[in-house]
Structure formats: structure tokens, C-alpha cells
Symmetry: C2
Subunit: 117 residues, 2 copies
DNA sequence: TCTATATTTCACGAAATATCGAATTATCCA
DNA sequence: TGGATAATTCGATATTTCGTGAAATATAGA
């Protein structure tokens, strides 16, 4: 991931409404949610939300597809992982201050979910 | 970490110059770097950089202390870790799409550095 | 085809952010 | 004390972002 891509993704997430929408989609899973449902959960007007979802899409953090009258948005887990990896890059500096606790957190979370890769 | 804190941290990082400065500090380690050195590395004017470092500080991502005529900035690893953990929260959704690969990445990186927690 | 629903696009004023030159503060050292 | 260095603060301008109402587009179903 290039710095400019990371700035784009970070900018997209640097807004309360967009961050809420994104996290909602992360929790919603691969199936995603319709724009209308996201609007209801976040309390944003349809046109305002549409602009924000467009920004998340442009940053590569979400994907969308039409299904009937609805447009379903889902989180892009690959891009999300790349962004986090970018922030973690070179973090150890011989001390493992960031990485090691996150590694534990990640493995604990995944173990708790009984998830497999 | 609250959503508003995360938005503050993400906004702080959502700028090419600030992201470069922050990552430079992450790589620099706990000792940190003088503002002047950061300015030289990033190519920003002293006053512009000063404003940006103030934003990173306000977001809790960096700390500063005076040492002689210089002011040394360092990354705040705890806050950084909390931000990343916030983004990873609830990511598994039973599929471990984000967490598991990051857990591997984190442990590999730490192992490579020969680091200890 | 007509109507209702779901979402996006457009235009615009208000607010926030970024950058720069000039001036100011803090520290060191002769 | 006076000069040099390091960094911040101030003031102004340019740019970007945000939220909204109105209008347009796409789809489903009677």
C-alpha cells in the first residue's frame, strides 16, 4: 500500500458518520447491508449517506452491488487489513511495543470466535 | 477508545505530511526526533510542521518534550495500539478475515525483530 | 404505463483545514 | 548581556469538506 492510498483510506474513516457506517459494515459481515439500513442505523439523510458511502467506496474500504431496488454495501476486508498492516509497518523497532500486544489481541479475538483462516 | 477519539486520531493521520512524520517517529523509536530533524526528513517548513505536530500531539498519537533548544517528538505506542485495536474490533464475524492474517503478520514481524513483549 | 420505493446527483452556502510570511518565545553560549 | 539557533504563534488567504434541498435515475409491481 502506498502512502497516498493510506491517506485516502484514513481520510475516509476520519469522519464520525463514515466511521460508524464502516464499522457497522465490518460487523455485518460479507453479506453487507442496504444503503437504507445503514441510513437508519446511523441516522443520516439518504443523500448525505450516499455521498459518504461513495467516499468509502472510492477509498477501497467498501464495495457495493445492486440487488433489486437496494444497493448493498459491504466492508472490503482485504483493503482494511492492508491499511492496518501499513500502520503496523516498522512498528517494532526492536521492542515489539505495538505488534506483540496486537498479535495477542488478534489471536484471542479469532480464537474466541472459533474462526478459521 | 471512544469513536470521537478514533476520529481525532484518524483525522490526524489523514494528511500526507502528518502521516509521513508519524511513521518516521514510529521507526525512530522511543527516543524520538527533534522537530527540526522531522522537518528536514519531510521537507515541510518549520511553522507548517509545528502546526501538524501539534495536531498529532492533540490526537494523542505523539508526545513531546523539550531538550535544550530542541523539542523532541516521539510516537505514543499505547495510543497507536488502541487505534489499531479499535479498527480491528468485531472484525472477525466468525470468519477471521482481518484478524487472523494480521495476527500472523504481527507475530512474524515481532519474531523477525527478535523482540520481547 | 403509472406509481411507489431506493438511491444517487447536483448546486451551493457554511464551516473547517492547510499553508505561508512575519513576529515571538525559549535556550544556549561567548 | 547580546547574538545565534530552534521552535511556536499569529494573521491572512486559499482550498477543501460538509450537509442540505431539489431534481434525477433505477427498479419493482399493479
Amino acid at each position: 500500500m502506498q502512502t497516498s492510498d493510506a491517506v485516502g483510506a484514513l481520510s475516509a474513516l476520519a469522519h464520525e458518520g463514515r466511521l460508524n457506517a464502516f464499522r457497522l459494515l465490518v460487523r455485518a459481515g460479507p453479506g453487507g447491508l442496504a444503503a437504507g439500513e445503514i441510513a437508519r442505523h446511523t441516522g443520516m439523510l439518504a443523500n448525505t449517506l450516499s455521498a459518504h458511502l461513495g467516499i468509502l467506496n472510492a477509498a477501497g474500504l467498501t464495495r457495493s452491488r445492486r440487488e433489486g431496488r437496494s444497493i448493498l454495501y459491504r466492508a472490503d476486508y482485504d483493503q482494511t487489513r492492508e491499511l492496518i498492516a501499513f500502520l503496523m509497518e516498522d512498528c517494532c523497532g526492536g521492542e515489539a511495543r505495538i505488534c506483540a500486544p496486537l498479535a495477542q489481541l488478534a489471536s484471542r479475538a479469532c480464537a474466541a470466535e472459533g474462526a478459521t483462516v
